[in-house]
Symmetry: D2
């Protein structure tokens, strides 16, 4: 994804283009792996055992999709900043919860293992970006 | 929207169907009014004056869309509960910020006044639902 | 949803505000009932029997969400018109397919019956709106 | 994005994993570049001149988001196939229209040039994938 170039050409370039680009890519990637993982779990022979994983993946996909969009609009001044921070915090929480759930099935299903890694990467990218914000108490 | 009936027919009916239905309706309505308000602001004669309103409406629309979807899956047991709570908290924050921004233009633009009311209703519905959760420290 | 009032206050009011408002409401409602129906199917005792229904509901929810957003921006002049028409046509197709799938389970699951009705209503509203377009060959 | 690996680990692996992975990546990338391009256009000194570009980018972002999700669920058998085909056709149309609009501003704004390229790539990937479907008359 040409995210750095897009953000660099934005007149209100974010304070840390690299960190924002990583978080957008992390969230967009996680949204898609969670969408695929939910469907892949559903068609396994034992979908009932994977019920929690499917639901958590669908929640995580929706939260990551919204986060990728919100972070793509680098409105880092007040009053948007605390809103973006809260959304990133919710995203990091969702990704950590989904990673834990996927980890339980990672040994048996490659899609759960790959999805777990995407969740962990997104949680980390969001947490890193939150740290660069001068004001992070919003979440 | 037939939300109460849908949630009542769900085998894992939420703890407070009325409160969940109100929050889902609030978020779905707000997502749509914010989407329309952003576009209506853009085609006003003075879009530059409404720049903050447009961006805040687009952020709020994305966050409300995700919240309406997540609340439609009543996964209120651990580990999803803190994730849902954090997403609702982010949604309430986004709606309050968007309502304040729309309020600045409500006198001149009917779409900003109606959008402000939808944002306030969604913020209230999310806050009310958060209060019914035994554990609300997650956000 | 205050959709008529929002569209009426838009400077580029659509050619047929009533028809657009019905289609937006139909798509937003269907997106939410499909989201809930997929989750309700998943927690039934026999999710494997409902696998096709779950997947179709998730597809339909995503397509309806996008359609509700696109129709909320009444950009009915060229070059957006054929794009909107094609999206509405895809939405009507998804809703008809999802209604047929839900109909197979409507007798046993109230959520499938309600979701089927929401799908049918959305398909009809999109088809009606498509008919009002002078140029409809785009789909 | 680890799309190929995710699709390869899916028990109902699509008929042409490479083509599906390219289309998902194309749509997810285009959704994000269009989201950023709309915001970048809005904060340029002359947003009124870019009004059509902003609206088209927002439409294209919504349609691409839905397409990326739908293609992530490889439900290629009937009855989902014509639905997926229609959504891909709408996506290709949206991307071509958005590429044309962005092309008009590509000389002056790097974000429009990059977004145009992402739109063209997505339109091509969707068209290529449509060709691999035995039945493509649905769109």
């Amino acid at each position: 994804m040409p995210l750095r170039a897009m953000l660099m050409s934005h007149a209100e370039r974010p304070h840390d283009t690299e960190a924002v680009a990583r978080a957008v890519l992390g969230a967009a990637t996680c949204a898609e792996t969670c969408t695929i993982c939910a469907d892949a779990c559903l068609v396994e022979p034992n979908p009932t055992d994977l019920k929690s994983c499917i639901r958590m993946c669908l929640d995580c996909a929706d939260i990551c999709s919204a986060t990728a969009r919100v972070l793509g609009r680098p409105t880092w001044s007040e009053p948007a900043r605390p809103v973006i921070a809260a959304q990133m915090a919710a995203c990091a929480l969702a990704c950590r919860a989904c990673a834990l759930e996927c980890a339980r099935h990672a040994e048996h299903h490659a899609h759960c293992r790959i999805c777990m890694e995407a969740c962990e990467a997104c949680a980390l990218a969001c947490a890193d970006l939150l740290k660069t914000l001068p004001m992070a108490e919003a979440a």
